[in-house]
């Protein structure tokens, strides 16, 4: 188990950065608890909670029955009475059976009570198509939550952010939906690189021709596309959809005059449309070409690896879309 406060290994895996973020949160504040299916002695099905039960015990790391409605709702009740729960929803698709605690309770109770109740809860979950997990274990549903006022939506794409944004989410006084991508779990990187607060986007790579805005695992594809050329891409990692740092996006698009938004989630009605609308509204006269989006086509994710690969926006499709934008004007 790694932790930012211990000496980190030279290259930390994303999943170990998550474990470290949770360990630091549990260590620094004894009101932090971890709740979820198999998060205890089992260490989580992806090892995201490995060693935490051993280190913090039964009262801080609680295994639950397969009852997302009850334990997500109980986490909200615990958050309004002084605890700071981290709830693991094993796959993002499973939020479908516990939307009430997230959508109607956590997101709204501060507002409906004019601030009398505070709900510091983190709903940790993971998504990630590309592993033949099928249509019920592959969905990226971040736009659902970004559409609900009162929820922060955080999507770490780097090892540093896996640790830092998780810790920041636990410290945040608001409910946070924290979305990991399981294809990033084995990715190695450094902790403590270019640390930024929650709510700020990061320019992951500077470029001149096209601004590419992305988040989550698509960041890797966009950075790979930037290597492929020929267009010079400025890649912006949003890091969180709520808060949405449009300032960093607009500043970049003002320079490049072109915007491509890339996400793994279904393109239709996705968060990319929100970014595109903002940019079109703010920078209409400065855009050299229409804004373009690249997401997964609007079909349920198929099981077949070949079909799945054909749908997900990869580096070649991104490079090609960016190049065609550059050619358009």
């Amino acid at each position: 188990m790694s932790s930012a406060t211990d000496a980190p290994p030279a290259a930390t895996r994303y999943i170990d950065a998550l474990v470290g973020g949770m360990a630091d949160a549990l260590e620094e504040d004894d009101s932090v608890i971890l709740i979820g299916i198999d998060v205890g002695a089992g260490g989580g099905i992806f090892t995201a909670t490995k060693g935490l039960h051993e280190r913090f015990g039964d009262e801080r790391v609680l295994d639950t029955p397969i009852s997302e409605m009850a334990f997500a709702g109980a986490a909200v009740g615990a958050a309004m009475t002084g605890l700071r729960p981290i709830v693991e929803i094993m796959f993002m698709d499973f939020v479908s059976v516990c939307m009430d605690p997230i959508l109607n309770q956590a997101a709204k109770l501060r507002y409906m009570t004019a601030g009398a109740l505070e709900i510091p809860v983190v709903f940790r979950t993971q998504t990630g198509a590309g592993k033949s997990a099928g249509a019920q274990h592959s969905q990226s549903l971040e736009a659902w939550f970004a559409h609900v006022p009162g929820l922060k939506v955080v999507m770490p794409a780097t090892v540093t952010d896996a640790h830092d944004l998780l810790l920041a989410s636990v410290r945040d006084p608001n409910p946070v939906v924290f979305i990991e991508n399981r294809r990033l779990y084995g990715m190695r990187g450094e902790l403590g690189v270019d640390a930024l607060p929650l709510g700020r986007a990061r320019v992951a790579r500077s470029g001149e021709d096209v601004t590419v805005v992305t988040w989550g695992q698509s960041l890797r594809e966009c950075l790979a596309a930037a290597e492929e050329g020929p267009a010079s891409l400025e890649v912006v990692d949003l890091r969180s959809l709520v808060p949405l740092d449009m300032e960093t996006v607009l500043e970049s698009v003002r320079r490049t005059g072109r915007l491509l938004v890339v996400h793994e989630a279904v393109q239709d009605f996705g968060a990319g449309a929100e970014i595109a609308a903002h940019v079109a509204a703010e920078l209409f006269d400065e855009l050299r070409t229409p804004v373009r989006r690249l997401g997964t086509p609007a079909v349920p994710m198929p099981f077949s690896p070949e079909l799945e690969r054909s749908l997900l926006p990869g580096s070649k499709a991104i490079a090609s879309a960016a190049h065609s934008l550059q050619m358009e004007g």
């Binding site: 639950t64 409605m69 009740g77 615990a78 958050a79 002084g82 605890l83 409906m112 601030g115």
Partner: protein, 330 residues
């Protein structure tokens, strides 16, 4: 219930705050009667669900709790909030959607909350009070606070997954949760006895290994005694426990519901079991109060509610910018 200590052998007249129970029921009766009329007159916006006829459950349970005990309730929660000590003026102003309402005019009838009284809120989602109370009880247990968390819900909520998941979770974690089902027979417009093969909520909780007791929900002393014993047992680590209070909803699911689905003779029979009248008769018979004294208590509660109405009418709505406050905390 399985264990009893000698001091918990049912209602002990000497220990029961009988006049306080009457006074609390009278407050709820006055509040709900006025609110129903104000809604009809168009003075209160939104949806209103009154608890007329169910006053004994709210008064009996909440009087048995301490000020720090938690409570999560339902869309029909006015009585529970009042009985737990939420300010009458603040509540009435909230129903009038005034800036000085207990929730700044942003919650309304279905979302009255006051954490300073342990009230985690009325809630407009059927069954939602259950997991929230389980979480509050988890806080109490992990922080060693000795607080009990009460979830009020109707028998309609017992057909929600949230009920079964929450009762099971509270059971495996041995949480100090007192589950109070107000069985008022109707789940919205439908007769609940036709919506399950097991109409007894006590039986259904027993299936999760949770002890329950059915009480006459129109007998405030019976409710109080059951709640006091259950709360003490929860504090002693014997939770969760369930009380099924059998009662009747005089008005519709919401104000304005014509109640075509209820047989008249049934409604009339339950009106004869008016919880205030039942308790008043008993107080007079036992020589603990005269009819005149009880009339004076009722009149005084009506005056208190009337004053809250006059005050609410005089108050301003929230400023437009208030719509943008409290979405997020800093």
């Amino acid at each position: 219930m399985t264990t009893k200590s000698p001091s918990h052998e049912g209602p002990d007249a000497a220990a029961i705050p009988a006049r306080e129970l009457f006074s609390t029921m009278a407050l709820i009766r006055a509040f709900e009667t006025s609110v129903a009329q104000l809604y009809k007159d168009g003075e209160i916006p939104g949806f209103v669900h009154t608890s007329l006829g169910q006053e004994a459950v709210a008064a009996g349970v909440c009087t048995a709790l301490g000020p720090d005990d938690y409570l999560a309730t339902t869309h029909r929660g006015h009585g529970h909030c009042l009985a737990k000590g939420v300010d009458v003026d603040g509540m009435m102003a909230e129903l009038f959607a005034r800036a000085e309402g207990i929730c700044g005019g942003k919650g309304g009838s279905m979302h009255v909350a006051d954490p300073s009284r342990g009230v985690l809120g009325a809630n407009a989602i059927v069954g939602a009070s259950l997991p929230l109370a389980v979480g509050a009880a988890l806080s109490s247990k992990l922080r060693g606070q000795g607080r009990v968390a009460v979830a009020f819900f109707g028998e309609g909520a017992v057909n929600q997954g949230a009920f079964h998941e929450s009762v099971n979770l509270a059971a495996i974690w041995d949480l100090p949760v007192l589950l109070v089902c107000e069985n008022n027979i109707y789940a919205e417009f439908s007769d609940s006895r036709r919506m399950t093969r097991v109409p007894s909520v006590v039986e259904r909780s027993a299936g999760h290994g949770v002890d329950g007791r059915a009480v006459d929900g129109n007998d405030v002393e019976a409710v109080y005694a059951a709640a006091r014993e259950a709360a003490e047992r929860c504090r002693a680590g014997e939770g969760p426990l369930l009380i099924e209070a059998e009662t009747y909803r005089w008005h519709g699911h919401y104000e304005g519901d014509a109640q075509r689905y209820k047989p008249e003779e049934e409604s009339a029979a339950w009106r004869d079991q008016d919880p205030l009248a039942v308790h008043a008769r008993r107080l007079v018979e036992r020589g603990e109060a005269t009819r005149e004294e009880l009339d004076a208590i009722e009149a005084s509660q009506r005056e208190r509610v009337d004053a809250s109405i006059a005050r609410a009418r005089s108050l301003a709505p929230p400023e437009p910018e208030e719509a943008f406050a409290h979405v997020f905390g800093d």
